[in-house]
Amino acid sequence: MTPAEIIKNARAQGSRTLSEHQSKQILAAYGVPVTAERLAADADTAAQAAAEIGFPVALKGNAPDLAHKTEAGLVEIGLADADAVRAAAARLMAKLPPGGTLLVQEMASGKREFLIGMARDAQYGPCVTFGLGGIFAEALNDTVLRLAPVSERDALAMMDDIRAKALLGPYRGMAAVDRIALAQAIIGVGAAALAHPEIAEIDVNPVIIAGDRPVAVDALVVLA
């Protein structure tokens, strides 16, 4: 489905918050690198999908209007083989909301977590934020903001403007982040917002740096 179709369907079903998978499909269409992932209806399909993606994998509950998966116990990570996937699938399916399904996802591993977000200002339109992500994001509050459209120059400057910019360089044995790829992700979030006025907010958190490669591990698109 195209981003426009995904949004249209969600609206038709009365969903305000798109599922993680739908959110990522939209963002991927605008150049945001996302995890390799498949939807699965049951434990066996999930195990098969995991084998195709490659172990270890993460398994998540996937449904519209599901904003806090971790708190709901709908995220299991580091599943190393098919049995682990089947077991986790059984646990998750018991907790899934109606209409929910399973999402099998590559484990993007890396210690550095960033976030990219978008909020629509009533006067100036889509504003794109970039900064330190992960669960401490609010407490550390290390983000910068630009108006969309974000140029590559803007996106690269945003990386230099956060206090934790040293994390982007080579850091404690970790490779320097692929800044161009990260810039494309920042630009993409702004572009998605400009192309779809129905989108009120976007939250891509965390963007994990796997090796030098930024990958959107979780994402949320909220409609107006």
Partner: protein, 471 residues
């Protein structure tokens, strides 16, 4: 359209009167008339008052409709309710523009009255400033249509800074102090309630205005963001820096936020992003607004090409202070090339410092041209993009000597030179005013000087990036 207001050849003042107010003061219209005449307005002036025939030796007309001349600008200085009727008369007469001074409109809970005023102006084809304004001053055209006390200053310095303010009181104060700092101004407009003409309209006009090279804005909120950003883009296109101080956490909505990002976005950050996108220079200290605009005006053709600064001072202490401020604001203090250090050795006593910062020591005064030669040598280096001249304690006549050589050095170079004079100003009683009159960028702290240089560099980089993106 704004030409008719800012370059008005004829002004009607409605509400001028020989009668005093109940407290014995001049009526608002009379205050405006007195200031207009005191500042030698060269155009034609027509007082309007149905009860009088002559004011200050000028024929007085019962209504604007009775004036036997075309009127470019009507200054409406009657109470709020009466202003609507006067606006209707202006429309009938074909007056092009008006300034409505009275308060008592939307800002006082009377939006209907303001709507009536707007309707009257629209019907008559009159564009207007206000209401609830102190008026406007076109320094470039010797036209003071303003009731602010700042107009009691005997004269305003002409120059290329235009100033738009949403607060007449703050704007008046800043114009006054800026004038004392020998800043030069083109126009000053107290925009009032912006019922018709908005900040963005004036900014759009100023981007084309030959008298204006820098625009200072004191604002609380932006009425029409699209129009505002278009005007900012136009100013950037014209290479005219817009310097802004904004109060309030604003009209910008922090919206109901369902996501984490939404909650973390502050409205102030949004305005910051707006400024960054359009190259608007935002100052976070109101006291910095006019000094920054003045520095831009003085150094607009000498914006630093890069961050590499030369620091020249008479003590290791002040050099260290300034070097720390450079570090704080992201400016570099590179070591001078060996050849330059060799040259400086001829001028600077052995216990000075030659690498950069350059400590010329108090002893340099024993050499008649050592200071000049030092400044010139540093400015000549390809590895230096700008220079700070640091001063500690110095009295007259030495202070005036510094004034002369600093001015001479700054005029002879294409690089920006900013003075940080940290010693007692009373000991430099001739030098300080002369430095200002010489249009030298002058600060009384290293931080002020360095912050200004940083703003110049940011603007230069904005223009460069803009040029590359447009190529």
């Amino acid at each position: 359209m704004l030409d008719a207001m800012i370059r008005a050849r004829s002004v009607a003042i409605v509400g001028a009167s020989q009668q005093k107010t109940e407290t014995g003061g001049d009526k608002l219209g009379t205050v405006a008339l007195n200031y207009l005449l005191a500042h030698n307005y060269p155009g034609k002036v027509y007082p309007v008052n149905p009860k009088e025939t002559e004011i200050r030796g000028l024929a007085c007309y019962p209504s604007v409709k009775d004036i036997p001349d075309d009127i470019d600008l009507a200054l409406i200085a009657v109470p709020a309710k009466a202003s609507v009727a006067v606006m209707k008369d202006c429309g009938v007469k074909g007056v092009k523009t008006a300034i409505v001074l009275a308060s008592g409109f939307s800002e006082a809970g009377e939006p209907e009255l303001e709507a009536d005023l707007i309707a009257a102006a629209k019907e008559g084809g009159v564009r207007f400033c206000g209401p609830n304004t102190n008026g406007m001053i076109s320094i470039a055209n010797d036209m003071v249509c303003c009731t602010s006390m700042v107009c009691a200053m005997p004269r305003f310095n002409k120059g290329d800074i235009a100033f738009l303010t949403q607060s007449g009181a703050v704007g008046g104060s800043m114009l006054g102090t800026g004038n004392e700092e020998q800043g030069g101004f083109s126009h000053w407009i107290s925009v009032g309630n912006e019922a018709d003409l908005q900040v963005a309209d004036y900014l759009d006009y100023l981007a084309d205005d030959a008298d204006t090279k820098v625009v200072a804005l004191f604002i609380e909120g932006i009425r029409d963001p699209g129009k505002f950003t278009r005007a900012c883009a136009k100013a950037a296109q014209a290479g005219k820096p817009v310097v802004v101080y904004k109060i309030g956490l604003s009209e910008v909505s922090a919206a109901a936020a369902a996501s984490h990002t939404g909650a973390m976005v502050g409205s102030d950050a949004v305005f910051d992003a707006v400024c960054r996108k359009y190259g608007v220079v935002r100052v976070d200290d109101a006291a910095d607004l006019l000094p920054t605009a003045i520095t831009f005006s003085r150094l607009l053709d000498k914006l630093p090409k890069g961050p590499r600064m030369g620091l020249i001072g008479p003590s290791g202490g002040i050099c260290g202070v300034c070097a720390d401020e450079c570090h704080r604001f992201g400016l570099d203090v590179p070591e001078l090339p060996q050849s330059a250090q060799e040259t400086l050795k001829q001028f600077i006593p052995p216990f000075g410092a030659l690498r950069n910062p350059i400590d010329v020591t108090q002893q340099i005064r024993s050499s008649p041209t050592g200071y000049q030669d030092t400044i010139r040598t540093v400015l000549e280096q390809d590895t230096i993009d700008g220079v700070f001249l640091l001063v500690t304690m110095v009295g007259e006549p030495r202070a005036s000597f510094y004034c002369d050589i600093f001015t001479e050095a700054a005029r002879a170079t294409g690089k920006p030179v900013i003075i940080a004079w940290t010693g007692a100003q009373s000991l430099a009683a001739q030098a300080i005013p002369q430095i200002k009159r010489n249009q030298m960028p002058l600060y009384f702290s290293a931080r002020g000087a360095v912050r200004a240089m940083r703003a110049l560099l940011d603007y230069r980089r904005f223009l460069d990036a803009r040029g590359e993106d447009n190529r």
